[in-house]
């Protein structure tokens, strides 16, 4: 479904991502793990068009090159991205944030989508009119996920959805990701919480200094000695 080849992202002289290639097949959960600054966010931002990619890089969605098109067009092609740090709109209400999620769609289906995400996140329903900036961190993350669900798309990119959340909420969020997979969505997941990520993922790639150093089925990566020492605290 998604095919990334020789992706390089440059920030001036620095290479945030240095010639990586990977694929995500339809219906899979694939996770990218790596330490701070390994290039995970840069990779996701390149996929959704927010970061310019260097020459020679290629990003294909269902065979179509999307490497150099504007982010709003990539959304229309069916990739939606839950960004690092939630990035909800602080001075908009919960509902307005969700309406922004619905931006590329007509309003006729919105009530149905609203009902669905509100049944999944009752806390958001209670806070329908509250401003996004006044939500707690966990509620903000729920809003970010709900907003992406309203946007829809066959492929969902998650950038550290568990950041700063209590273990109980993390469990909820991971079960929602799993549920999205069951609905037929394809998922690319970035996590610091490598343990959790590897337990729900089908396959994994390990990034170090902008390069892929290990890849394989999640269970194998989880069993790797080096990975256990570096990311799983074993």
């Amino acid at each position: 479904m998604l095919e990334v080849n020789h992706l390089t992202v440059k920030y001036g002289a620095i290479r945030g991502v240095d010639d990586i290639s990977f694929t995500v097949n339809k219906g899979e959960i694939v996770t990218l793990i790596g330490a701070n600054g390994a290039g995970k966010t840069s990779t996701l931002r390149a996929i959704s068009g927010l970061n310019k990619i260097a020459q020679g890089s290629s990003i294909k969605l269902n065979g179509e090159e999307i490497g150099n098109i504007a982010p709003h067009k990539i959304v229309e092609k069916g990739i939606c991205h839950v960004p690092e740090g939630r990035r909800i709109f602080y001075t908009m209400s919960v509902r307005e944030n969700l309406m922004m999620g619905n931006y590329i769609h007509g309003m006729s289906d919105f009530p149905k989508k609203l009902e669905r995400v509100y049944s999944l996140f009752p806390r958001l329903k209670e806070r329908d009119k509250q401003l996004g900036g006044t939500l707690s961190g966990g509620e903000q993350q729920m809003l970010a996920i709900a907003r992406a669900m309203v946007t829809g798309g066959d492929m969902v990119l998650f950038d550290e959805p568990s950041m700063g959340l209590a273990p109980l909420i993390i469990r909820d969020i991971f079960s929602i990701i799993k549920e999205l997979q069951c609905e037929g969505k394809t998922i690319l997941l970035i996590e610091q919480n490598a343990n959790m990520a590897l337990s729900i993922a089908d396959r994994a790639y390990v990034l170090e200094n902008g390069r892929i150093v290990l890849s394989g089925p999640a269970a194998e990566v989880k069993a790797d000695k080096q990975v256990q020492r570096s990311y799983l605290g074993a």
Partner: protein, 293 residues
């Protein structure tokens, strides 16, 4: 007492002009963090458009207003496409210098164009002046019409920004450009529309200015633009309500100050600006942002 109410009405009339122009500054600042010093020049061209519309079609207020607003809006949009868009990803300083360049370009080009030229032109009388006496207070039809039209425009703008899809997109882009792009918002299109709306309102400001001070020349934009910009800063730049209230407040204050001494009108603007910036650096309604990440 009657005198005070009369001055107040006069102040509201002038203030509504400032409010219309301030809004453009504040909207454009909100969405691209640019202080667009060419904003005043859009309204100058709008005023000239009204001048020619009236020359061709007679003194029809609505036609002249529409002509001016659309012309100013289109010129604002064009300046965004031609001048600001190419430097959008560059450091802020580039846009600031570009804005100064656009302003100089518009003013000097206008001076050289045969149908604008360096010599001031008399602005047509678009509203037949009738005086009404209500409880010993004299108000003119001009004042009533101007205040009503300005209020309608301000209301319309608030409605669009708060309740429509494009308005939400404008707010979203102001808040977080990347996140908006991830929702499918076309950032450049949204910015261009913001320029258009800002110019559109400024065009009305230009016509109203011509009605109040019926001689127009190429520099009316800088004069009115400066005052409106200060009003926007006083209200809290980036804040729509702030721009409206700041504009109206400054109009009222200017009229009262001028009634005391004709020369201190403009000085008062700077005095208030300095006082506000000392005690409320972000303006009356601005917030020094402090957001949870």
């Amino acid at each position: 007492m009657n005198n005070i109410i009369q001055l107040l009405i006069y102040g509201l009339q002038l203030g509504s002009v400032y409010a219309l122009v301030s809004l453009g500054y504040t909207m454009v600042y909100g969405i691209v963090r640019l202080i667009n010093s060419a904003h005043g020049d859009y309204l100058m061209l709008g005023a000239y458009t009204a001048f020619y519309v009236s020359l061709l079609n007679g003194n029809n207020l609505i036609l002249c207003l529409l002509g001016a607003m659309i012309a100013s809006g289109l010129i604002a949009m064009l300046s965004d496409q031609l001048a600001f868009k190419p430097v959008r990803e560059q450091p802020k300083f580039s846009s600031l210098v570009t804005a100064l360049g656009v302003s100089l370009f518009i003013q000097n080009l206008s001076r050289a164009l045969p149908f604008i030229g360096p010599i001031p032109k008399p602005f047509p009388t678009l509203i037949t002046k009738k005086l009404y006496n209500i409880l010993d207070i004299t108000v003119s039809s001009t004042q009533i019409l101007m205040i009503i039209i300005a209020l309608i425009l301000l209301f319309l703008l608030t409605y669009i920004v708060n309740n429509t899809k494009i308005g939400r997109a404008m707010r979203a882009v102001s808040l977080d450009r990347d996140a908006s792009a991830l929702m499918g918002v076309d950032i450049n299109k949204t910015i261009t529309i913001t320029f258009f709306i800002g110019g559109f309102l400024a065009g009305a400001g230009g016509v109203f200015y011509g009605i109040m001070y019926p001689t127009i020349d190429v520099s009316i934009g800088s004069l009115l633009g400066n005052k409106a910009f200060i009003a926007a800063v006083i209200g809290g730049i980036g804040n729509l309500n702030g721009a409206m209230i700041g504009g109206i407040l400054m109009g009222v204050i200017e009229i009262f100050a001028t009634s005391i001494n004709a020369d201190i009108g403009f000085g008062v603007f700077y005095l208030i600006l300095i006082i506000i910036l000392i005690f409320k650096p972000a303006g009356l309604f601005g917030k020094l942002t402090n957001e949870k990440v």
